[in-house]
Structure formats: structure tokens, C-alpha cells
Amino acid sequence: METILSVKNLKKSFGSLEVLKDISFDLARGEIISVLGPSGGGKSTLLRCLTQLETIDDGLVAVDGDVLFGDGKYADKANLSRITLKIGLVFQNFNLFPHLSVMENITVAPIRVKKMPKVQAQELARNLLERVGLSEKADYYPCQLSGGQQQRVAIARALALDPEVLFFDEPTSALDPELTGEVLKVIRGLADRRMTMIIVTHEMGFARGVSDRIIFMENGVIVEEGPPEQLFTAPKNPRTRDFLSRVD
């Protein structure tokens, strides 16, 4: 299968703290990976490095054949912008723009970045809102929506740029338990359409059901990876076994 994202020996430190020690993995087009592991293990930092929110210290990262970071330096600006549009990120805290309506939140990037005509962008936004089940909320402001609805708008906003890969950074961690279901349902819908995704989550049951592969991370390293059934039923590494037994 075609590799859409390739990460080799990725390293990242904050001061003297090594957050990502030596991360390597490939993501194939259409593949869904869930990243599990205890807090502070480097899961979010990994996503943030790949979306250019944190600077990479060392290693090689290539997205859809374009090198994002390699030989100790980043690609040039034009390449970086192109790569930015290929990866979407859904934040834990949604980070919707509170002063813009739901419609504007979704259309601002297509209009500004992709130079899409406004009418076309709004048409796209309406389709996406329908997909996340919020057709009637286009003219609302984020503060008028529940957390679950806000996160679904954030997913629609990320999809509006038609990314090759979509990252989720603990998409349900900021939500009340009764609201996580509606968000997970939307992500499951994306999975049914074979959207390529990396999902950092603490929702074990969800990760097990939706993923093609699970990566278990701790202390900045990938401790174990494999198909969900194998990882959940017969984890090889004692650390993985320990973690899964404590959360289940």
C-alpha cells in the first residue's frame, strides 16, 4: 500500500527533557492508527511535531512524497505550506474561532488559503455540516453549541481543506462522557469512508474497534505496535500489558 506519511528516528526535546526519543513508523493511505499510552508519553507532541506546531530536532518526516524535515532542516516555505494543507488536525480543545460563525469557521481557510470562491466554500461547508449532523447550526456561534457540537464543527473545519491525513489529538478528552459518543460516531463515519487518520485517544474500546493498527507509546518511545486484536488480547510487552490492564 502507498505510504502517505513516513516518520524515521524522530527526536524532540524540551530543554533537557527528551519527549520523543526515536520514533519511526509509516502510515499507509487509508490506514487508521490509534496512538495509546499514558499521559506525558509524547503522543500529543508527536502530532504537534508533524503539524509544525513544534519544531522537530532530528529525524526524517515525509508527507505524500514531500520531505517535511530531513538532514536537520525543514523544507522551504512553499513546500511547508503545501504539506500543511495535506494534514488536518483536530484539537482536544476544538480551538474554534469564537468571533466567527460556524459557517465562517469552516470557510475561512478554503477562501483565504485555497482561494476558493465564497459561494463554493459555503456550499462545501453546508455539505460538511450535514455530514457531521449539524446542518441547522451554520449561523450559530461556537459559544451557542455544546462541546460535542463544537468538536464536530472543528472536524468539519479540518475536512474543508480536503486533507490527505487527519490527526485527532484526544478529540473527546475535553467532553462530558455523554457527549463523546456523537464525536466518536463522526470519526467512525470518516473511518467508513477510509479517511487516513491518526487518533490519539484514551477511548480504548473505540480505538480497538476503529483502528487498523495500534501504537502504544510511553516515555517518548513506541513500546509496541500491531493490529488491535493482537495488542489488546495478547500484548507482547509487559508495559503495554500493564497499561491496558489498568485502564480496562
Binding site: T84, L85, N95, F97, H99, A109, R112, R157, A158
Partner: protein
């Protein structure tokens, strides 16, 4: 109080309002520039901005007005002269002083916007400039309106300080007319005019705040 005195007070009011307007118009962009420099990580930018804010907030406005007007004439070989243009000197002093206060208000407003907003802009492919003007600035406006309102209302009354360099604005006119006519009325009328201006500004400010109330 006769009509002629009232007319003089109105002339003073026009001068006061013109100074007020010019100060608002020019101190906002200057204050924004100073706040951006102040937030720079490079000392070559943030140090001058810090110094500017420290001096302008740390000395009396009245002293600044006098210094700015008199310094060119009193310092030997100063390459610039006001050519007697007191109004210009007064405006410059007010603008420089208010820019320092506004800079700190803007800095507070800009820093109050969560980092996640900028990150969302970046991940969506917006440039730094686009993120600043589309995502950050509109939210900053909402944050800074209440503290800016304070400064704006202070400014109405601070314009009276320019009388120290002999400008016949509202307060100065009232003082001259009160002593000339041995009457308390010019003070009362001047006070009423300042109060009227403040009432109107307060109404405009609270209207603006309400307009921005559509989101949290």
C-alpha cells in the same frame, strides 16, 4: 454669564475636542506598534519599547507637555523647532503619552488570546499575518474595549493639562473668564461640557461593547 463668554467656552471646547480626536486617531496605531515591539523576543525591539513605556508612564503628563514644547528652544543646537506651534507640540505630547498606556492595554489584550487560536490558524494554513488580523485582532478588540474606554474618558479631561503651555482650550478659557468676570459660572459651564462629552463617550462605548456581545 453673557453670551460672549459662552461663545468663548465653546471655542475652547472645539480645541479640546480636536486634540482629543487627534490623540485617539494617532495614539492607537502608535500604541499597537509599541505593544508589538514590546512583545518581541528580540531585546533590540523590546528594550526601547519597555523604556518608552516606563518613561511615558513614569513621569507626569504635564511635565511631558512642557518638556516637548520647551526642549527644542532650550537645548542648544536642537535641530528642530516648533516655530511657536503650541497646538502641534501639545498634540504630540498627548499622542506619545497615550500610546504608552494603550500599548500596555493592547499587550494585555493580545496575550489574553489563547495560544490554541494561533495554532488553529497555523494548522489551517493561514499565514502569521492572516492569523493576526483574522483570528487574533478581532478578539483583542473585544478584550480591550473596557480598559480603553477608561483611557478615552481620562483623555477628555487630560487635554486640560495643555493649558500649561498657554493653549486656550476649554479649561484655560474657563479659568480666564472666571477670574476676568469674577464669576463661578464659567467653571460650572466648563464642568457641564466635560461631563456632557463623557456621557456621550460612555454611551458610545457601552453600545460598542453590546455590539461585541454576540460571542464569548
Amino acid at each position: 454669564m453673557n453670551l460672549a463668554v459662552f461663545k468663548l467656552l465653546l471655542d475652547g471646547t472645539v480645541i479640546t475636542l480636536r486634540m482629543f480626536a487627534l490623540t485617539i486617531i494617532f495614539s492607537i496605531p502608535l500604541g499597537l506598534l509599541v505593544s508589538v515591539l514590546r512583545m518581541s523576543r528580540l531585546w533590540i525591539f523590546n528594550l526601547p519599547a519597555r523604556l518608552y513605556i516606563l518613561v511615558l508612564r513614569g513621569t507626569p503628563l504635564m511635565l511631558q507637555i512642557m518638556f516637548i514644547f520647551y526642549a527644542p528652544g532650550l537645548i542648544q543646537g536642537f535641530p528642530f523647532s516648533w516655530q511657536g506651534d503650541r497646538m502641534m507640540a501639545a498634540n504630540v505630547a498627548l499622542i506619545l503619552n497615550y500610546a504608552a498606556y494603550l500599548a500596555e492595554i493592547f499587550r494585555g489584550g493580545i496575550q489574553a488570546i489563547p495560544q490554541g487560536q494561533r495554532e488553529a490558524g497555523k494548522v489551517l494554513g493561514l499565514s502569521g499575518t492572516e492569523t493576526f488580523f483574522i483570528v487574533v485582532m478581532p478578539q483583542v478588540v473585544k478584550h480591550v474595549i473596557p480598559p480603553m474606554g477608561n483611557e478615552i474618558i481620562n483623555l477628555v479631561k487630560d487635554t486640560s493639562l495643555v493649558q500649561v503651555i498657554g493653549i486656550a482650550e476649554l479649561m484655560n478659557t474657563a479659568k480666564v473668564q472666571a477670574s476676568g468676570n469674577v464669576s463661578i459660572m464659567p467653571y460650572l459651564v466648563a464642568g457641564g461640557i466635560y461631563l456632557g462629552i463623557t456621557v456621550i463617550l460612555s454611551a458610545v462605548l457601552s453600545f460598542t461593547e453590546k455590539k461585541l456581545d454576540y460571542y464569548r
